[in-house]
């Protein structure tokens, strides 16, 4: 949290300098954020060229709006709001529209929570070797890509950028509760993939809640 506060403060200083016409400060701001922004955008739009164009356009909009930016709000919130709006526009283009899941089906269900999968054997075991980690990464990526875009967005903003629920809520223009719900369901699905992968690799079935009840 402290590191994040320090980062926000550095962003604020750079933005103030850029507002005063310091091009080098703006360059530094872009350099600081471009890779993670690209990683998030790539995960959401799933096309390298689209993600690159999208992030470039988002930074350009930041540049155009520098005069209007006030230090009271977070740069992350502002920037990712632009990124998310551009992503939504892109996904709505003809031929790009994906089958979105019904949000109502994704609402919190206590029975879902009762089946929350997990890998209990991880505790105390050897650190994951590189091969298993790579395998897990591929499995999680496949599972992530199967999620609706609003679930992918929230997972990536959280895991890659470490954004708070409040920041994500503002960036996506939804309530904190919706962010929590989306994140929980997305992680449940990812955890299932993790458990399956663990089972395949180790030959052991991860213990679930039901197992521990028995």
């Amino acid at each position: 949290l402290e590191a994040r506060r320090a980062q926000a403060e550095e962003d604020r200083v750079l933005i103030e300098a850029a507002q005063g016409g310091d091009q080098a400060a703006f360059r530094r701001l872009v350099e600081r954020h471009q890779r993670r922004a690209f990683a998030v955008a790539l995960g959401v739009v799933r096309d390298e060229n689209d993600a690159r164009d999208l992030v470039q356009e988002a930074f350009l909009r930041v540049y155009r709006g520098l005069d209007r930016f006030q230090g009271g709000s977070s740069f992350f919130t502002w920037f990712y709001r632009i990124v998310m709006n551009l992503s939504i526009d892109l996904m709505r283009r003809p031929g790009r529209r994906e089958a979105e899941h019904d949000e109502r089906r994704a609402s919190l269900d206590p029975d879902d929570a009762a089946e929350f999968p997990f890998v209990s054997r991880i505790e105390g075991s050897e650190p994951l070797d590189a091969a298993l980690r790579k395998q897990l990464g591929a499995r999680l990526r496949a599972e992530l890509e199967a999620l609706p875009s609003y679930h992918r967005s929230v997972v990536l903003m959280r895991e890659v950028e470490g954004m708070s629920y409040e920041e994500m809520a503002q960036a996506m223009n939804v309530s904190k509760g919706t962010i929590m719900s989306r994140l929980f369901h997305a992680r449940q699905k990812l955890q299932r993939a993790l458990a399956d992968c663990y089972e395949e690799e180790t030959g052991e079935r991860p213990r679930s809640r039901r197992d521990s009840d028995e």
Partner: protein
Amino acid sequence: MKRRSSELGRSGGSVMPPSDIELMLWMDGELAPERAHEVASFIESNERARAVVLSLRLGSEVLASDALLRAEPLEQGDITDGVLDSAEAEASRRWMVPARKAPAWRVPALAAISLAFAVAAAFALVIRSANRSLPAPDGTGAVSMMAPAVEGDMSSSGASIAVVDFGARSGTVLYVPSDGEGALAVVWLSEEEYSASGVPQ
């Protein structure tokens, strides 16, 4: 949120065992400080809660590192140079063209206003030229108007005539009674203009 009875039994004391959502919130640092403290104590003493948190952490770590690994092909200058080149181009355009072009949404409105002005001007020209082309009666110009009834003259013969000097021109005003309520005044103006000495020119 459902909770297992075994968990409740193990929790001991009055601390409410955390739900899976609370475990996730705890891991993300989104729980209120008081509850976060309780959940931390619970996780220490509960194997399943520890496993949930650990597997969530593992998922987060693997996902983040995989996403950043996929972003590797992005070269440092890729986006930065593109953004700064576009920004510089925009800045130089601002210097070259001080007056900003009207936004696209304004163009139809401006066109409509221009068209309305053009139509109004054309209409005024048509009216004006039509007025000019009306044939004027030779020698006289006639104006009629309703004048208040003049009791003396109107009561007897019903009509009266007055010669009026309009300055440069002389004229005749004829009052004709009209339905007893007023009089129709007909004015003739002479075409001849008079000089200051009173001689027709």
